[in-house]
Symmetry: C2
DNA sequence: TCCCGATTTGACCAAAAGGTCAAAGCGACG
DNA sequence: CGTCGCTTTGACCTTTTGGTCAAATCGGGA
């Protein structure tokens, strides 16, 4: 009964495929991506790719599952018992860091949402909604005590998503406007200031 | 030499095609969209569509050209000689209104940028960049006089884009979280407040 | 070294998709 | 009401693409 995990070559090839697929799906969307291109970028042939994943759909699925977890981790780490301002600014910082470190994941997610979330729709109105509701409660409580200025907690969260993800998803446009090497540098200071001003308790 | 414009039927069919194409390109991206679907949605056959436009590329091109103009109109209307706070809040309001009235255009644009702006790339680093630079100057001047709080003008503009477009592009996600009929209603108040707090002159 | 299962590949298939074309249909104007 | 040009269509072509399969190759343990 010795459970044999996937062989070394299995994990390596599967990882290579997922890496290439992330690149291609993020850049072209699901329908625009081709197995040939993914296989080529992963350094193997199409039939070989199909040996590791039964279909294009399943490759995509493998990427998407788990993505939401990664994506929501920063929000999840908000601690209702922490110092409100620090918690929220920390959230913004973590989310922006994620955009910088995982731009392809961001674009993969953006593609899925843009297309109407055909594959993760249910999760959105399930787990996602629940998590947002939970954290919104905490934020609302903070606002009530006056620890932060009054805000609509849900729209606040949406604002964090919009502002941080934009730098990854609209990278080319941001670069065209800023013409800088790493636009994320300036973004960090800007966003920190933005949320400080937005949330600073009123006198 | 009586110039005969396009016949009534010509304009009608071309408009129908562009409408359908906007819908499909926005939802599926360029490569994901098919001529059959566009033709079907426009109420004609594929060869008939090809009678009005020489190729899929040209349909897409027709949509994209002019889109940037529409998209940048709100920014263009910022008046350097106007009242700073009113100008900027007016800009936000106009941009959000555009997201509400033209969600498909927003998604078409998002798709193009996500895919690396293969078709409007040059315009981005040309006309777009120039316009942003021009308006950034005005905003910087306002900040200098203390009429608004100090901000990085370019990142401010990017923030407006991110926040307003997000409501159109990520519509399904926003709806999943808010569960409301029209999320844009709450958004307007929220964004107005956000930018007021961000830009209100310091004491 | 030999063997057997894991891995890889070239050839192939069917469906989808962009595009062409000649012929048929239609409509406005003389 | 007949004609001529604008419009529409079905049939067809080629390329691309997701996927299959049998055969070949590889690689590590006995």
């Amino acid at each position: 009964m010795t459970e044999t995990g996937p062989s070394r070559i299995q994990s390596e090839k599967r990882a290579a495929i997922l890496g290439a697929a992330l690149e291609v799906f993020a850049a072209e969307g699901f329908r625009g991506a081709t197995l040939d291109r993914i296989a080529g970028e992963a350094g193997l042939s199409k039939p070989n790719l199909l040996y590791y994943f039964p279909s294009k759909e399943e490759v995509h699925e493998a990427l998407l599952s788990g993505l939401l977890d990664l994506w929501l981790a920063p929000l999840r780490r908000i601690d209702p018992d922490g110092e409100p301002m620090a918690e929220l600014l920390g959230y913004v910082r973590r989310k922006l860091a994620l955009s910088r470190s995982h731009p392809r994941e961001s674009r993969l997610f953006a593609n899925e949402i843009l297309q109407g979330a055909p594959r993760i729709g249910p999760t959105l109105s399930g787990a996602l909604r629940d998590l947002v509701e939970e954290k919104a409660q905490a934020i609302a409580a903070w606002a009530e005590t006056g620890a932060i200025a009054p805000v609509d907690p849900r729209h606040l969260i949406i604002s964090v998503w919009a502002l941080t993800q934009h730098y990854a998803d609209f990278d080319v446009q941001v670069r065209a406007v800023l013409g800088r090497d790493d636009p994320l540098d300036g973004a960090e200071a800007h966003l920190e200031m933005l949320f400080e001003r937005l949330l600073a308790p009123r006198a």
